[in-house]
C-alpha cells in the first residue's frame, strides 16, 4: 500500500471537486473492498475522499417504490422490515453476501462498485487486462471454474461479484448519480455496467467525480414475490458459483410478469429477458420453469473448468422460481 492523503467531504459537490483535482483519488465509504485492493497493491490511490459525512441515508418505501440512500449499510437495508416484506430478493441477496461484520461496514453504493474476485486480477504477479490493460488474460486457459460463461471476451472473463446488483438488475433498479455540474442523472443499473469487450478495465459508466447518491426500485407485484438463491462452495461467506434473483406475479396460476437475473455467471449482473418472456402467460409449473430456464444460457461460452455453470444456472433458476411459486 502506498502513502495517501485523506479528506472528508461535506457535500457531493465538495467530493466531486476533490476527485476531479486528483486523478488518482478514490471515494471511500465502508472501505471493505477498497482497502483490500490497496493493501494488495491492485489500486494505488493518492487521495481517499471519505463520503461518510454526506447525508446519503434513508430507506423510504412508497407506492412508487423503494428509495435507498447510497451510504446505507448492507446490514441495515437487508434487515429493514419494508425491504424484507416488499423486496425479499434484495434483502436475501444482501444477507447472503459476505459476513455480518463486513455487511455492517459496507455501503450500498460501494457494494455495486466492488471489483471482481478473479484470482488473476487479485494477484499483481499475473497478467490481467482489467488491472493492466493489454497484459493478457491467463484465466482463459487457467483456473476458470468460478469465472464467467456469459458476457466474456478474449480479454476478460472475470465474474461480477455483487449479489445485491443481481437482485437490483432483476427488479429494474435505477441509480441516482450526482456530478459536480448539472442536474443529478438517473441510470438503470442494467445500463450502468459495461461488458469487458477489449476494455475490461472500464467497468461502468461513472465519470470521474460522479457520486452514486441513491438507489430506487420500482414497486411491483413480482418484487413482493421474489427470491434470491445462491449456490456456493460452502454454506456461508463465499462468492456465488451461480445465483439467481427471481420475481413472479402469478394470478390464478398464470404468470403475469416475471423477472430473472443471474449472478456468478456473467461479467456483469446478468438479466435474462428471454427467460422472463418465456414465463409470461404460462402456468407456474416446473415444466414451464425448465423450458424457460434453458434460454438463460443460449449465448454462453464456457471455458474448460466452468462448463458446469451451463446446467447449474438453469437449475438455480428453476429452484428459485419454485420457491416463489410455492
Amino acid at each position: 500500500m502506498n502513502n495517501f492523503a485523506y479528506t472528508q467531504a461535506a457535500s457531493t459537490k465538495e467530493a466531486a471537486t476533490a476527485a476531479q483535482a486528483d486523478k488518482q483519488a478514490a471515494f471511500i465509504s465502508g472501505g471493505t473492498s477498497l482497502i483490500d485492493l490497496m493493501k494488495s497493491n491492485i489500486e494505488q490511490h493518492t487521495l481517499l475522499i471519505d463520503l461518510n459525512k454526506l447525508s446519503l441515508l434513508g430507506i423510504e418505501n412508497s407506492a412508487a417504490g423503494l428509495r435507498i440512500g447510497a451510504l446505507e449499510r448492507m446490514s441495515d437495508v437487508g434487515e429493514h422490515p419494508q425491504v424484507v416484506q416488499n423486496y425479499p430478493v434484495v434483502s436475501q441477496a444482501l444477507l447472503a453476501s459476505a459476513s455480518p461484520q463486513l455487511r455492517n461496514m459496507a455501503s450500498m453504493g460501494g457494494n455495486l462498485l466492488q471489483r471482481t474476485r478473479c484470482g488473476y486480477f487479485r494477484d499483481t504477479a499475473f497478467p490481467c487486462n482489467k488491472r493492466v490493460p493489454g497484459s493478457g488474460c491467463p484465466a482463459q486457459t487457467g483456473d476458470n471454474r468460478t469465472l464467467a460463461i456469459l458476457g466474456g471476451s478474449p480479454s476478460c472473463i472475470a465474474t461480477h461479484a455483487s449479489d445485491l446488483a443481481v437482485s437490483l438488475v432483476a427488479l429494474e433498479a435505477k441509480l441516482t448519480i450526482e456530478s459536480p455540474k448539472g442536474q443529478p442523472r438517473t441510470v438503470p443499473l442494467a445500463d450502468f455496467y459495461k461488458l469487458p469487450g477489449s476494455t475490461p478495465h472500464i467497468e461502468n459508466h461513472l465519470a470521474p467525480g460522479e457520486v452514486i447518491t441513491a438507489i430506487t426500485i420500482p414497486a411491483a407485484a413480482h418484487a413482493r414475490r421474489s427470491h434470491y438463491l445462491k449456490v456456493r462452495d460452502r454454506a456461508s461467506y463465499a462468492y456465488a458459483l451461480v445465483s439467481a434473483a427471481v420475481g413472479l406475479d402469478v394470478q390464478g396460476g398464470t404468470i403475469r410478469s416475471a423477472r430473472v437475473a443471474l449472478g456468478g455467471v456473467g461479467t456483469v449482473p446478468w438479466r435474462v429477458p428471454a427467460v422472463e418472456q418465456a414465463l409470461v402467460g404460462k402456468s407456474a409449473t416446473e415444466d414451464t420453469f425448465r423450458a424457460a430456464a434453458a434460454l438463460a444460457v443460449r449465448d454462453a461460452s464456457p471455458r474448460e473448468h466452468n462448463k458446469f455453470k451451463l446446467e447449474l444456472a438453469q437449475r438455480t433458476i428453476v429452484r428459485a422460481l419454485l420457491e416463489v411459486a410455492a
Partner: protein, 776 residues
C-alpha cells in the same frame, strides 16, 4: 508395574476431568504473548518481496527506490545477506540442519518456485517495510515452469524413500499382484487430491534478537523450540547454548510449524545485518508459499477379496508432485498396510519434480489421504456385496498388525464401531444407497475407521516442589492451542497431590528441559510421562531424606518400601506410617526439592510389563514387540441437494480409543477440530495452482475455503476407556491426528449412500456433485 500411575483415577484427582484451559483467561484478555508480540528495544520490521515467476534467474534487482523510502534501514538480497555456516542446499547440509527443503532462497539468483523470497526490506515501522517491499524491482530471465505431475513435460520417477527419507518408496508383503489377479472380487479405483495448505490462524512469524554476537534469542511460532534451535545451530555454526528459542503460545500449526522454514533464518540474518532486532510475520498470502503444503496427489487402490468380502490383496500406488530438490511424499500406504487383516500388500510411489516448494507433513500425513482411499474402497466392497459397511470391516478386523506381525499394545476399534453406531443411530440406515429422501434432500449415512500410530518419542521435564506447598513444573514443549498447558498442570497437580492453582507449568523455551515437537500426536504422551516421572524423582529424593531423618515416622525404612501419594510419603504396607512432604521439608529446612526425568513414548518405552529380559520366546511382553496405535470410528450423515450439488453434513459422531484421556473437554474440542479439518478437506478445501504459471490463484482465506459455522452440525464425541501399559508411563496415546483420519471417507461414504454416486476427486464441490448426478 510400580511406575504405573494408578492414583490418577482416584476421587479428587483432576486428570481426565473436563476442565477449562488454565491459560484461557490470558488468551481472551490479550495477555498471552504470541511470538510476534514481544516488544524489544529498537525493534525493526522485516517484509519479504517474493518472485513473480516460478522458474528462471534473477537478472537484476534494483533496490534503490525501496532503499530511498523513509524509515528503510536495509534491503537485503542474495547479494548482501550475511553468509551462513551451512545451508540446506546440499544433501549433507539439509540433513545436518533437519531442513524441510533442500534449498534456501536468497542464497543465489535462481528461481525455482513462484513467490520465492527474493528480498527482505527492514524498516522502522511495518507500514514502511510493506510499502518499500513493493518498490523492489526485479527483472527475470524466465523459463516455462512445470506446475505438477499432470504437466505433459513432467518426468515421473520412483523414489527409493518417501516422507523425507523416513519411509520406503516400495513395499511388498506376500504376492499381492497374484492374489489380486485370482481374487473373486476385484475393485480398482483412483482418488485424486488437490494441494492443501495448513493455514493456521496465526501465520508463521520470527522475531530475531542478537543480544550479543554470541547470543541470539528467537521468538518463533514453532511446534518445537528444540528442533528449531537445532536447525539454527547448524545453519549459524554456533554452539547450542548461544541460541535460545522461545514460543509461549501458538495459534495452530497442523504441521507447517514443525520445521524451520526459510523465513526464520532469513530474519535472523537480516537482524545480524542491521544490528537491531527484526520481526517478520508472514502475510496470509505468503502462508501458501512459505511453510509447505500437502502435495497434490493421485492414488490408486486395487482391492482383492473373497466372495464373502475377506480381503486377499491390497495394492496401492501413489503419484504426486514434489519440488526440484526433495523426494517428499506423505506415506499413504502405512495405514493401508495395517488397518485390516490383509494377507498380501504392495505399495509403490511415483513422483515428478515441478516448480513448487517442498510439501511437508500436514495433520495425519499419509494417514489422512491413505484412509480416504482405503475407506472408500472398503465402502465400495460393502456395497458390491450388499453387506453393511461396519460388517465388512468386522469381517476384516485385524486381531494383530498384519504389516509387522506384532500384537497390538491395545485396540478398541470394535468398541468404537459399536458405541459409534449406537450414538449415531446406524441401525436406521437404509441398506440401499440413493433411497433415502427428505424433501429435496437425499440423505446418506457413512462411516469410516481411523487409526494413527504411537511414534517413538522422548522428552524431559523438571519439577520443583516448594515446602510451602506450591510447585513449578517445566518442559520445553509447545502448546499448539490444544491444551498442553492445561493437561500438564493437571498431571503435575495429581502427581504432586497439590491443587491445580498451586502448580505452574512452564513451556516453550529452549532453556527448559528438552521436549519433542508438538507433532505426530506425541506431545501429550511424552510430556505428561516426563512430568509424572519428574515428580516421582522429587518423591524419591524426599524419601531418602525421610528415611535418614530420626524425627520422621519413616526413619530407617527401606526407600523401596516407601511411596508417595497426594503429597504424603508413607509405607506401602502400612499407610498410617508416614507424613506430609511439607512437614518433612520444613523440619529438614528444605525450601524446595527439584526432580528431573525423561519420559519415553512409544516403542522406546519399557514399562514394568517388560521387566523380563527380551529374548527368543520371551519378548512378547516387551513394549517394542507391540504395534502401538490409536483407533476410532467416525459416523456422518449428509443431506445432498442433487439438483444444485450442495452437500451439508447434518450429523456427526466420533468415537475414539486413544489410551488415557487427560482432559475430556480439551480432548473433545481437539477431536471436533480435527473432524472439521477433515470435513473441510473433503468438501471444500483446495489450493488452486495455475498450470501455466505454477502459481496459486486463490491464496487467501476468501477463496481457500475452510468450513464456517454454518457448515458444521452439532458434533458428538466419545472416548472408549482404554488402559495401555506398553506405550508410556501415563498410558496416553495422543489425539492430534486421529481426529481427522477417516473423516473425509466417512463424508464421501455418506455422499455415496445418499446419492448412489461414488465421488473420488476431492474436494466434493457442488459442480462435481451436480455433474455426477447428470451422468446417470
Amino acid at each position: 508395574m510400580s511406575s504405573e500411575p494408578q492414583f490418577f483415577d482416584q476421587p479428587g484427582g483432576v486428570v481426565g476431568k473436563p476442565l477449562v484451559r488454565v491459560e484461557g483467561r490470558e488468551k481472551v484478555t490479550g495477555k498471552a504473548k504470541y511470538s510476534a508480540e514481544f516488544p524489544l528495544p529498537g525493534l525493526t520490521y522485516g517484509v519479504l518481496a517474493t518472485s513473480t515467476i516460478a522458474k528462471g534467474k534473477i537478472q537484476n534487482i534494483d533496490t534503490t527506490a525501496a532503499a530511498r523510502e523513509p524509515g528503510v534501514i536495509a534491503v537485503l538480497t542474495h547479494q548482501n545477506l550475511p553468509k551462513l555456516a551451512k545451508t540446506p542446499n546440499d544433501a549433507a547440509g539439509k540433513k545436518d540442519i533437519g531442513a524441510p527443503m533442500g534449498f534456501l532462497p536468497m542464497t543465489s539468483d535462481e528461481i525455482f518456485y513462484s513467490a520465492q523470497p527474493v528480498a527482505m526490506v527492514v524498516a522502522d515501522t511495518l507500514d514502511h517495510a510493506i510499502h518499500a517491499a513493493t518498490l523492489v524491482k526485479v527483472t527475470y530471465q524466465a523459463e516455462k515452469p512445470i506446475a505438477s505431475f499432470h504437466d505433459s513435460r513432467a518426468e515421473l520417477f520412483n523414489p527409493a524413500k518417501v516422507q523425507d527419507g523416513k519411509e520406503d518408496g516400495h513395499k511388498r508383503r506376500g504376492d499381492a499382484k497374484s492374489a489380486f489377479a485370482s481374487a473373486p472380487i476385484q475393485l480398482t479405483a483412483t482418488y485424486t487430491h488437490p494441494v492443501y495448505n495448513h493455514n493456521p490462524m496465526e501465520p508463521g512469524s520470527t522475531t530475531a534478537h542478537w543480544e550479543a554476537p554470541d547470543r541470539l534469542t528467537v521468538y518463533e511460532s514453532t511446534q518445537g523450540v528444540t528442533r528449531t534451535q537445532s536447525s539454527l545451530v547448524a545453519m549459524l555454526g554456533m554452539p547450542r547454548e548461544q541460541v535460545r528459542v522461545i514460543t509461549k503460545y501458538i495459534g495452530g500449526g497442523f504441521g507447517c510449524k514443525g520445521s524451520t522454514w526459510p523465513h526464520t533464518i532469513l530474519t535472523i540474518q537480516a537482524a545480524k545485518a542491521v544490528g537491531r532486532p527484526v520481526k517478520l510475520m508472514l502475510t496470509r498470502k505468503q502462508m501458501f508459499t512459505s511453510m509447505g503444503h500437502r502435495e497434490d496427489q493421485s492414488q490408486t487402490v486395487q482391492l482383492g477379496a473373497t466372495a464373502d468380502g475377506k480381503l486377499t490383496a491390497l495394492i496401492h500406488t501413489k503419484v504426486s508432485t514434489t519440488s526440484p530438490w526433495d523426494n517428499y511424499a506423505e506415506s499413504n500406504s502405512k495405514i493401508i498396510d495395517l488397518l485390516y487383516a490383509t494377507p498380501t500388500f504392495e505399495a509403490s510411489y511415483e513422483m515428478a519434480r515441478a516448480n513448487v516448494m517442498t510439501s511437508t507433513f500436514m495433520r495425519a500425513p499419509g494417514e489422512a489421504p491413505g484412509s480416504f482411499a482405503l475407506e472408500c474402497s472398503m465402502d465400495d466392497l460393502a456395497a458390491r456385496l450388499g453387506v453393511d459397511p461396519i460388517e465388512i470391516r468386522l469381517r476384516n478386523y485385524a486381531d494383530h498388525d498384519y504389516s509387522t506381525g506384532q500384537p497390538w499394545s491395545s485396540k478398541s476399534l470394535k468398541q468404537c464401531y459399536a458405541r459409534g453406531a449406537e450414538l449415531f443411530g446406524w441401525s436406521k440406515r437404509n441398506p440401499k444407497a440413493g433411497a433415502t429422501r427428505d424433501g429435496r434432500y437425499l440423505v446418506g449415512m457413512g462411516m469410516a475407521s481411523a487409526s494413527y500410530p504411537v511414534h517413538n518419542s522422548q522428552g524431559s521435564a523438571r519439577a520443583r516442589l516448594y515446602a510451602d506447598g506450591h510447585a513449578v513444573v517445566q518442559s520445553g514443549a509447545t502448546d499448539l492451542g490444544t491444551g498442553t498447558y492445561t493437561v500438564m498442570t493437571q498431571v503435575a497437580a495429581d502427581s504432586l497431590g497439590l491443587p491445580m492453582d498451586k502448580v505452574r507449568f512452564e513451556l516453550g523455551d529452549t532453556n527448559l528441559p528438552t521436549a519433542p515437537n508438538s507433532g505426530g500426536s506425541v506431545a501429550a504422551g511424552t510430556v505428561s510421562s516426563s512430568v509424572y516421572l519428574a515428580v516421582q524423582d522429587v518423591w524419591q529424593k524426599l524419601i531418602k531424606v525421610a528415611v535418614a531423618d530420626k524425627k520422621s515416622p519413616l526413619y530407617k525404612a527401606k526407600p523401596e518400601d516407601v511411596t508417595a501419594e497426594k503429597g504424603r510419603l508413607f509405607l506401602k504396607k502400612d499407610a498410617s506410617k508416614g507424613e506430609a512432604f511439607g512437614d518433612l521439608m520444613k523440619r529438614a529446612e528444605l525450601t524446595d526439592v527439584e526432580g528431573m526425568a525423561q519420559g519415553k513414548y512409544g516403542p522406546g518405552y519399557e514399562s514394568g510389563h517388560s521387566a523380563s529380559p527380551a529374548g527368543p520366546g520371551n519378548n512378547t511382553e516387551s513394549a517394542s514387540a507391540h504395534s502401538m496405535h490409536s483407533f476410532g470410528a467416525h459416523f456422518c450423515e449428509v443431506r445432498v441437494d442433487m439438483d444444485l450439488g450442495t452437500v451439508r453434513v447434518s450429523k456427526w459422531v466420533s468415537v475414539i480409543g486413544a489410551g488415557r484421556i487427560l482432559n475430556s473437554q480439551t480432548a473433545r474440542s481437539q477431536i471436533i477440530g480435527g473432524a472439521i479439518f477433515g470435513i473441510g478437506s473433503v468438501l471444500m478445501e483446495a489450493t488452486e495452482r495455475d498450470a501455466n504459471y505454477s502459481r496459486y490463484t486463490n491464496a487467501d482465506l476468501a477463496n481457500y475455503h475452510v468450513p464456517v459455522n454454518a457448515d458444521i452440525p452439532d458434533m458428538t464425541v466419545e472416548f472408549v476407556e482404554e488402559n495401555d501399559p506398553y506405550i508410556n508411563a501415563m498410558g496416553v496415546k495422543g489425539i492430534g491426528e486421529i481426529s481427522m483420519v477417516g473423516v473425509a471417507a466417512a463424508v464421501a461414504n455418506a455422499v455415496f449412500h445418499a446419492t448412489g454416486k461414488r465421488l473420488r476427486d476431492l474436494p466434493l464441490t457442488p459442480d462435481k456433485v451436480m455433474m455426477a448426478g447428470l451422468a446417470s
